[in-house]
């Protein structure tokens, strides 16, 4: 009776957060949201979006299409994307109410917004997720969720501190590797020993020729916490290229294909072999026929290999003995990974790509990159989030943020 009498907003801001942080998910009965196809506005999740180009455009459309979401704000540092997002939102509702922001801090400061989705370049993710949590917002953030190892634990801690629902955004983990996942989980492979992921390349330094900054973009805000650099259209292009034609190619903004597609592939691998709750404790740089590859070893004996010569994508190495079958986890609610997030915002349950799982996944490519860059094997203490006995490697965990950005 208490819950039924409680408004959605009050529920989200008090009871729900408490139950999430304490690990006791609570379900809002459908009566609390209304049984009609479209809940009353006061019972919808009020959302805003930050970064509306490319993947952000898709996420915007997905959330806008949900009957239990009221979309009220758009933010982008590119005027064109910002205006298009506002126009699309206003057209959906038949009004002019969607507020367009060019500074995400304005959006996060709004008390009327419950949740945000973020699809900026990767160098902004940690900053925005952490600030959103401090403002009491739930967050859906596109993958790769982190740019560095150090950012990961800060995001997890902050989400936990404020009892926020924070979901990563790889829709492919559950979608692209179904057969492998099912055979691993239902026991038909027996005990699983290893899985191989082929992905790349690593991101590289960027020193593109300066170009005139177009009027359409706030270049300072695009760069944000990344090192200052002159504008170049390829530097900030949101295309999916990792070979020099987009920000996904460059170290200051991305881990390259290693983290961009890696977030999907390593996400699928960690899911298939059921190590989403763990991080590797050893990163072994090895070589076969002159070709380097990395093996990431987990405390439970599972091994994920990266680019192991002669081994196919998502190839599963079988161990000895049987594995008892388990039901494969799936999304909550309906509507894929965005529906999963919205459902979890209501119930305060952990989403499918809960931030902790996302960060554990992202640790895999980050550790792999560290081993390749330093050209040596490394040992990783997941509890302390530090490399063991390797001061140089530890320096790779964090990067100074350009002033005035701080987390």
């Amino acid at each position: 009776m208490t819950i039924m009498k409680t408004t959605r907003r009050k529920f989200l801001s008090t009871t729900g957060t408490a139950t999430a942080a304490l690990g006791f998910p609570s379900i809002i009965p459908s009566s609390a949201l209304g049984n009609a196809d479209k809940p009353a506005p006061s019972n919808r999740i009020v959302m805003g979006g930050i970064g509306i180009g490319n993947m952000g455009r898709g996420d915007h459309g997905a959330f806008l299409g949900k009957n239990d979401v009221q979309y009220v704000a758009i933010c982008d540092v590119r005027k064109g994307a910002m205006n298009q997002g506002k126009a699309k939102t206003d057209a959906k509702y038949g009004n002019k109410d969607c507020k367009a922001h060019d500074d995400y801090r304005e959006l996060l400061s709004r008390d009327d917004i419950d949740a945000v989705h973020i699809a900026t370049p990767d160098h902004w993710h940690a900053q925005m997720i952490i600030e959103a949590c401090r403002h009491g917002k739930d967050v859906f953030c596109q993958k790769p969720e982190s740019l560095t190892l150090g950012e990961g634990s800060l995001m997890v801690e902050t989400a936990k501190r404020y009892g926020r629902v924070v979901s990563g955004g790889s829709q492919r983990v559950l979608q692209d590797y179904k057969g492998t996942v099912l055979r691993c989980w239902n026991g038909s492979y027996g005990k699983v020993k290893s899985i191989n992921v082929n992905v790349g390349p690593m991101s590289k330094p960027c020193n593109l020729t300066p170009e005139k900054v177009p009027d359409d973009i706030n270049w300072e805000m695009w760069l944000g916490p990344a090192p200052w650099a002159p504008y170049n259209s390829k530097r900030c292009s949101g295309s999916f290229s990792t070979s020099g034609n987009s920000w996904r190619s460059y170290i200051d903004y991305s881990g390259g294909g290693m983290t961009d597609w890696g977030a999907h592939h390593f996400g699928g691998a960690t899911f298939a072999v059921d190590v989403r709750e763990l991080q590797p404790n050893e990163v072994v740089l090895d070589e076969i026929d002159g070709k380097k590859f990395v093996s990431l070893r987990y405390p439970n004996g599972i091994e994920i290999t990266h680019n192991k010569p002669g081994v196919g994508q998502m190839h599963v190495g079988k161990g000895e003995g049987q594995r008892k079958g388990k039901e494969v986890p799936k999304y909550a609610g309906s509507g894929g990974i965005t529906g999963d997030f919205i459902d979890c915002v209501k119930t305060r349950a952990k989403p499918f790509r809960h931030i902790e799982y996302a960060i554990n996944t992202m640790a895999v490519p980050h550790l792999t990159v560290a081993a390749y860059k330093l050209n040596r094997s490394l040992k990783w203490d997941a509890a302390k989030q530090e490399f063991i006995g390797d001061a140089e490697a530890n320096r790779l965990r964090n990067r100074a943020r350009r002033e005035p950005w701080q987390i």
């Binding site: 020193n207 002159p230 040596r376 002033e403 005035p404």
Partner: protein, 229 residues
């Protein structure tokens, strides 16, 4: 190859192919475990910082010193801390430099730094966490500029020590720094909990509740009070 790359730094403007200086990064990796080679490389790179090579070249040098920097390169980097264009990349190298001299350089640059640069230095001190004196950061809490006191609060939260919590407890809270001060205190309290100091944590959570927290911080503090029971 390294000599060529070092020579290339003299004309390494924005737009030059990074391959021209790739050998510097290769030398960083190759000299691992060779103290003499490292010392020579560090010294050579630090010297470049006092020349008039282009900004993009100094950017490259700072990135290399991030990996190999010791106390030896601190003075050269410290000279850049008040440089509007290069302060960030100098911090890029200093923030992860294990030498206590790096902390001293950052702290020493605080007082006379312009606002934006000061915020950056405060941020780097917080990110270092251990080995950073609390007093200079505590001073920033009383700064009339709320953005500086906000930065100071977040840095103290990242340090998370008893002294940091004590300094935060006496911070003058306003609408601009409220979220940061609360977050920093919550951070300190979690650190206490992680070390089994439940009573200390409970005291901090209580302070957060007294200073007029945001809604989000109140929820977090309420949860913290329960966790520290």
């Amino acid at each position: 190859m390294l000599d060529q790359a070092l020579e290339s730094l003299k004309t390494y403007e924005w737009g030059v192919d990074p391959k021209a200086v790739k050998s510097i990064q290769d030398a960083v990796v190759a000299s691992h475990g060779d103290a003499a080679a490292r010392k020579k490389l560090e010294s050579t790179l630090a010297d470049v910082l006092s020349t008039d090579v282009p900004r993009a070249a100094k950017d490259i040098v700072c990135r290399a010193l991030k990996t190999i920097g010791t106390a030896h390169s601190v003075p050269a980097l410290a000279k850049l801390l008040h440089d509007e264009e290069l302060s960030h990349m100098a911090r890029h190298a200093l923030q992860t430099n294990d030498a206590p001299e790096a902390v001293k350089a950052l702290v020493g640059a605080l007082d006379k730094a312009p606002k934006k640069i000061k915020i950056g230095i405060i941020s780097s001190l917080g990110a270092r966490g251990t080995g950073v004196p609390v007093a200079p950061l505590a001073t920033t809490l009383t700064d009339k500029d709320a953005e500086i006191s906000t930065a100071g609060a977040l840095a103290l939260g990242a340090i998370g020590s008893t002294d940091a919590a004590k300094a935060l407890g006496s911070a003058k809270v306003n609408d601009t720094n409220r979220i940061a001060v609360c977050d920093a205190m919550l951070h300190c309290a979690e650190n206490m909990l992680a070390h089994g100091k439940k009573a200390d944590a409970k005291t901090i959570y209580g302070t957060v509740l007294k200073i007029g927290p945001t809604k989000a911080a109140k929820i977090a503090a309420d949860l913290g009070v329960k966790a520290s029971a």
